[in-house]
Symmetry: C2
Subunit: 149 residues, 2 copies
């Protein structure tokens, strides 16, 4: 029997769950024909989403330098997940968009996450899973609503 994690602070548990979920997601994508995609790249594709995004905005959002984000975007373009279009509101600016391959990958991502969550539900039971999700959602409500002291 492994040592339980009940003594861990919530922050540590959240981080470990997040990591476990990410690991399973990456494994699912590898099995689904996306062997080379990394979590940070996936987050960027998700942020680009249906509306597209500019490189500078992505760098700010992920707290990365423009240069590091530029390299990440170059990788995603080379792998065929991202393309560039001209920004209709600014002739000099380029806007990043998901390619068809990028759209399929992010959709597959969503389906894998759904399957992972169904498994979570079966592991601790539907009512306990539901309780937990409600409590965390309530906590998030307070945190994103109220002032941060």
């Amino acid at each position: 029997m492994p040592i339980p994690h009940v003594a861990d602070p919530l922050g540590v548990i959240l981080l470990r769950l997040q990591r476990s979920l990410e690991r399973e997601l990456i494994q699912g994508l590898q099995a689904g024909g996306y062997p080379d995609i990394r979590m940070r790249q996936l987050s960027v594709l998700d942020a680009v989403g249906a509306d597209g995004a500019k490189a500078a905005a992505l760098a700010a959002r992920f707290d990365m330098t423009k240069q590091s984000m530029g390299e990440l975007i170059d990788d995603l373009e080379r792998s065929g997940y991202l393309g560039r279009a001209q920004d209709p509101s600014d002739r000099r600016a380029r806007i990043l968009e998901l390619t068809p391959r990028g759209k399929v990958a992010t959709e597959q991502c969503r389906q894998i996450v759904q399957a992972i969550e169904r498994r979570y539900e079966s592991l601790i039971g539907a009512s306990r899973y539901h309780e937990t999700r409600m409590s965390l959602a309530a906590l998030l409500e307070h945190l994103e609503d109220g002032p941060v002291s």
Copy 2:
């Protein structure tokens, strides 16, 4: 009244809670005299910990290139959080260690996280908070123990 997050999948809720916790932690550190520290840097300092670590191991752990991790480490050295010592088991290798300033910063980090969690507890009530932590810990137990399908 804001729209509740109860419809969100658990993965999204976990991610948002994680981000909220990180934001508060960074604000706490800024207020405590560490105005320039970023989350990724903090994670690296935490991974270096009391035992020290090698740059290559840190790069692998954080899924970063050696070059990107090298830049991050250089920043942390310049800011006085990290230092280098010779590895006693390998004359050519250097091992990274927390400086006294680095140790104080990571300790302050732990205290801020504890304060955040006490606040979480007060926001949704001690028994609900306890339930939630136990359920998530149970889930984590299954996930880290059993095979990942």
